[in-house]
Subunit: 734 residues, 2 copies
């Protein structure tokens, strides 16, 4: 019986993961009450392993549907070490995920000890851990020595001996800092990690003789639970993001089936997580089911960001965007919950940006970036997509700018270099990137969009990637790298304008084919050029007029590229226009009953037609992370807060009401929140971090409760915002 088989899998899963460490775990329970120690591993390895696990959960109508790109693995054998110096001997407890040894100053303890004595003085602890199935991980705890990021790890020792047993003094072992997250309990072995769940009831239920159609009231995600299941026969579950999808037994994207044979009623919780709002549970004659509920699975990140204003539709848009992000923020930032559930670099890059205004959860950003990169050798672009490789580079520097986290740059820099080597080797004789055999040039989902030749958008992303490399090289004090990447970026930027800027069209053209400029103007390179600040002022105005606000240039129909389009307009001060666009576009989805934002929205489509994509009637994802961009736009360009040095050490606040009467919100930062409330006459700010510069335009000189106000040109004023103070600024908005 399938049900029993599934239960077996669960039991076995526990056996697998606890196998080698069962004893360790049980004997280290005392460690609970203490702090500081955390499970550690080779940096990036747990992220790769966990993403394999997550990305292989996709099914399509009951068929397993894994990613098509290469999945990498953790190093299976790791050496962990720590040099310590303690005044007196002390006892240590340890837990290990894998087969292991532990040595003090090179001398091994026998067997698999769970407790050891640390001698007083200066000594080195080495632990060597082998684990093929999951990531070699270590938890170590004594009063003064705990496992944490200060431990060093390596996947290969380069040490050797001569026939006398003397070790060579030519060691070339490369050590890096151990990776960790928040597994601070000896019992919480990283490989056992699962997201938490909570029970949720349907808001309505339509029960018939052989079926129950339940509606959970909004898009949701988790494990379906059938109550008091009894009898013998098949139960088919048809999931729907829309009611139409749940009722279409043949064409819904998600359907599962089980067979039961049980005389006594029992609850059945489905083993695989699914996305749905509606579920149509259909069962055989001899089967009965009392009720249907679910276990909602979620990532316990804290929603620190907020936004509220006088426009209820905008508030609703922000709330639904936040819920869309909640659903797509899981072990990693994924694309959408119904279909792929994979980590796509272009999608994730937007999630990071939205995250900076919603959660500021750095671990999820770092995990996602590490998982996307995988390991050397590089055999294809990230997700096989050329543009997605470039977003990956750019997102690392973005992360640094928001977080100030140099350790992550240090951890990633080598793999950034080898990824960039891969890209640079794929340039053509003119030094441009063109889709080679095996490269997917994606850009956007748009009918008839040309991917041929040398696409300007790709060169622009490469140029920005090279600039990111140059910045990271400087952070890493790699002077040679910085010089090289800076020169490459500069050279490419020159080419970008020489090859693609068309003065007659007042725009960058879409591509060159066979070395010749095409006539085609699209929005992509033009909008990125704005917020990359690649254009001069005249070019910006040209692009705004002849491209962004020009209805003859093909419209964008995905929230994905609308993200950047509206960002470009905001960056040029078009908040009024963008607010209307938001109300129109995201409001349009709400008007169609959206409870989360979609993968694609074309206002021209009607009825159930809106659910179709990829040639399938319910192919479209109705809960796609890239649909949540209002969070980013409202935080960065309306509340107007952004870092001006890494980690919000300094930041700027340039509020733009964009037609709203008032707005208030919270911007999370690494060291606390920035809260502000803005109307046309008053701005209140409290900040827990750094030094802010509020820049506003006012008809008369603003008045503040103590902060100095600097008068700039053109009716602009600057106010210095200090942390820990309640600032109130009275002004008269222009």
């Amino acid at each position: 019986m399938k049900k029993n088989f599934i239960l077996n899998i669960r039991t076995s899963f526990l056996l697998i993961t606890t196998l080698t460490t069962l004893l360790s775990l049980f004997t280290t329970s005392k460690a609970h009450a203490q702090t500081n120690a955390t499970w550690i591993w080779y940096p990036g390895d747990y992220e790769i392993w966990l993403s394999n696990k997550m990305q292989n959960r996709r099914t399509e109508r009951g068929s397993f549907l894994p990613p098509f790109w290469k999945l990498d693995s953790h190093y299976v054998l790791i050496d962990f070490h720590k040099d310590y110096d303690i005044p007196t001997a002390e006892e240590a407890e340890l837990a290990v995920d894998g087969q292991y040894n532990i040595k003090i100053d090179g001398k091994a303890f026998s067997g698999y000890p769970k407790k050891i004595s640390l001698p007083a003085g200066k000594h080195r602890i080495n632990m060597k851990v082998y684990n093929q199935a999951s990531v070699p991980s270590v938890y170590f705890k004594s009063p003064h020595v705990v496992s944490d990021a200060s431990w060093k790890v390596t996947f290969e020792d380069k040490e050797w001996i001569d026939a006398s047993g003397k070790a060579s003094d030519l060691s070339a072992t490369k050590y890096v800092d151990a990776g960790s997250w928040n597994f601070n309990d000896a019992l919480s072995m990283p490989s056992m990690f699962r997201l938490p769940v909570k029970p949720m009831k349907a808001v309505s239920s339509n029960k018939k003789a052989h079926s129950i159609l339940v509606d959970f009231g909004k898009e949701t995600f988790g494990f379906l639970k059938l109550h008091n299941v009894k009898g013998k026969g098949a139960i088919n579950m048809y999931f729907g993001e829309s009611k139409e999808e749940a009722l279409d037994k043949l064409h819904g994207e998600l359907a599962d089936s089980i067979t039961i044979d049980q005389a006594k009623a029992d609850d059945y919780t489905f083993d695989g997580s699914r996305a749905f709002r509606y579920v149509n549970v259909v069962f055989d004659d001899n089967v009965s089911i009392d009720d249907v509920s679910m276990l909602y699975e979620y990532s316990p990140v804290e929603q620190r960001g907020s936004f509220k204003c006088n426009d209820e539709q905008i508030n609703k848009i922000w709330d639904v965007a936040a819920y869309t992000m909640e659903l797509n923020t899981r072990e990693f930032f994924i694309d959408g919950i119904k279909r792929d559930r994979w980590v796509w670099s272009g999608d994730a890059a937007q999630s990071y940006l939205m995250n900076y205004y919603l959660y500021f959860d750095s671990p999820t950003v770092k995990r996602t970036i590490s998982a996307l990169r995988g390991k050397d050798p590089v055999t294809s672009h990230i997700n096989t997509i050329m543009d997605y490789t470039f977003y990956w580079f750019i997102s690392i520097y973005d992360y640094y700018q928001h977080s100030g986290d140099k350790a992550f740059i240090a951890q990633s820099y080598d793999s950034m270099k080898s990824m960039m080597d891969y890209c640079l080797k794929r340039r053509n004789k003119d030094g441009l990137m063109q889709g080679l055999s095996g490269d997917w040039v994606f850009i956007d989902w748009a009918d008839g969009l040309s991917k041929q030749g040398e696409v300007s958008f790709e060169q622009m992303l490469l140029c920005r990637s090279l600039e990111s490399m140059s910045l990271c090289a400087n952070i890493m004090k790699d002077a040679q790298g910085a010089t090289k990447y800076t020169a490459l970026a500069k050279d490419l930027k020159t080419k970008l304008f020489a090859y693609y800027w068309n003065a007659q069209k007042h725009a960058m053209v879409h591509s060159r084919i066979n070395g010749k400029q095409t006539d085609n103007v699209t929005r992509y390179a033009n909008m990125f050029g704005i917020f990359f600040n690649y254009f001069n002022e005249a070019q910006k105005q040209d692009v705004k007029k002849y491209v962004l606000l020009n209805n003859k240039v093909p419209k964008i129909t995905t929230p994905y590229m609308r993200f950047y389009e509206l960002e470009a307009l905001c960056a040029m001060g078009e908040q009024d226009y963008v607010l209307k666009q938001m109300k129109d576009y995201w409001g349009g989805m709400l008007n169609l009953g959206a409870t989360s934002f979609w993968e694609e929205y074309n206002p021209d489509k009607k009825g159930a037609e809106v659910y179709a994509m990829y040639g399938r009637p319910f192919g479209k994802s109705l809960c796609h992370a890239w649909g949540a961009s209002p969070i980013y736009l409202l935080g960065k360009y309306y509340l107007g807060v952004k870092p001006t040095s890494p980690g919000y050490n300094t930041y700027s606040i340039e509020p733009q009401l964009g037609g709203l009467q008032w707005m208030e919100g919270t911007i999370p930062t690494p060291k606390g929140d920035i809260k502000l409330k803005v109307s046309a006459t008053e701005i209140k700010i409290t900040s827990a971090t750094g030094t802010g510069k509020l820049r506003i335009k006012s008809k008369s000189k603003p008045v503040s409760n103590g902060a100095a106000i600097t008068t700039l040109a053109n009716g602009s004023y600057e106010v210095s915002i200090e942390k820990g103070k309640d600032h109130t600024i009275k002004y008269t908005a222009i």
Copy 2:
């Protein structure tokens, strides 16, 4: 209790490996009676996975002792496909190790089917399998379609779609032929593989109140079994390759301990395999043990080669050498059974050569070569040792020469190229290899041997490696590669003589330091130069006189380098001298009671001193594969058989009695055995393969039973040996 824990591990192991396929297995049992289908995987992946498993079995006095180099992993997600064309529809059964889907022409079946219907006509089957813990593997069987090496596999699809769901026509997916071995039964999942065992009794047992000392009569390997164990307390097991080691509770290399608590007597079989001849089982007051036996673990390869002659000592040497090989031929060719139990490239390279004269088991050769190479990126030399990287290259071409197996060259060629790239990048400005940070220059275990500067031996091995690359490039029809590697080899060979040949010393010197020839003459480069055929005739004679037969040049004390030293002498016709050396050196070990051949043997050492190495009293391995070289020497240079074209399509037989009155033996080849019996007056040959050329010297023209005899110069004659005929040649040996 420890015992129970161990039992749990075993149970769980089964659960792990059968987890996802349990149902598949049970429903495919009917497939048994049929043939052809075999389990398949991504080529090289099972080998890497299995070697991880094997190499992590080493313990040292109860402590886990894994390798220090990088261990790689299999690809965790693999796509398998097969295009078929069948006249009528048929049923197929399948078994899979991993989570999977199966599609026909891109359309997936629901769930995890164990049987599917194959439609008639031309279609494509795709299976996608994910398995993190063990290697994604597939077994498929219908009357006309079976899983085998004709299936194609890839670790990354490079396919993509547009918004309409249309797949791109720019696929760049790289497919290779599936890997397989001999898992021809749906129930024999590759991840469940274990070597077979058979029970063995001790030949003597010395029972005391709290101990039993058993002697198995000869070196052996496997799982210790304690009979009728009862009581409560500790049992300590001290293993010894020598009696001295087993009785030294403090310094023996292998010791294990268990604690029992059982009122009822029960047998206990130890979970970890160990090497030993003697075991001293010591137990507490309240513990009783009736008897000690073992389960002998072995590789079921067939011993096809044989050698017998009038000299009983030589016969004994051959037999003990064969037994030494038997013990070290396991999942892979390992170095020695007591200590490392790892795959070392230099050791393995000799095992391959001995294997060609003992088993001719190609799968073990291929597995070992693949396991040694691991995966890209190359981050160090193989086993971290420069010379061991070179042996790896050379051994691949050697394997081709013996087997004629082009498919393996095809499978390995890409990884040969990237390994050679790694080497070439590490050359210095003079184009020579010198130990860089992280490179272990090993050469041999020899006191005071210099590893500094540019060692001639390393350049010679690189030169031979480049020649191997050139030969493989030609096999792969890679003209550009062939040109490149040929030129590199030629250039290096020129340098070899320009830089290292010293006419005054009549030899290659050992090294250059700071670009200057040193005075040091060692045997290494000089003996390899002989059988690589790098020297002209005058140089050969010089080297023989001034190096090989010169007692002032430091002696070799490992069977490892004696292998090559004696090969060089045999290649120069010194079989009489070498026979005496064999009797002296290997006979010397036998005289000390050796039941298998050692890692090192220095006739000057006395008593228990002979067991010491690496500064440890029992550090030396008394069963080391490289000790078995008489098998190779007697087969290749006395019976005198070797291939002259790939796979023994043609071969030569040049018997040399070397002082023996008669000898007879069997040489295994890919297509059958070559058997011969040789005395000073008669040679009898039967061959099941190819065309042989027997070359002999005779005082008068030989007479054969039908074969044509060609007279060559200097009393030499050539006889053509045809397969399937019994040849008898009468002659008068000179």
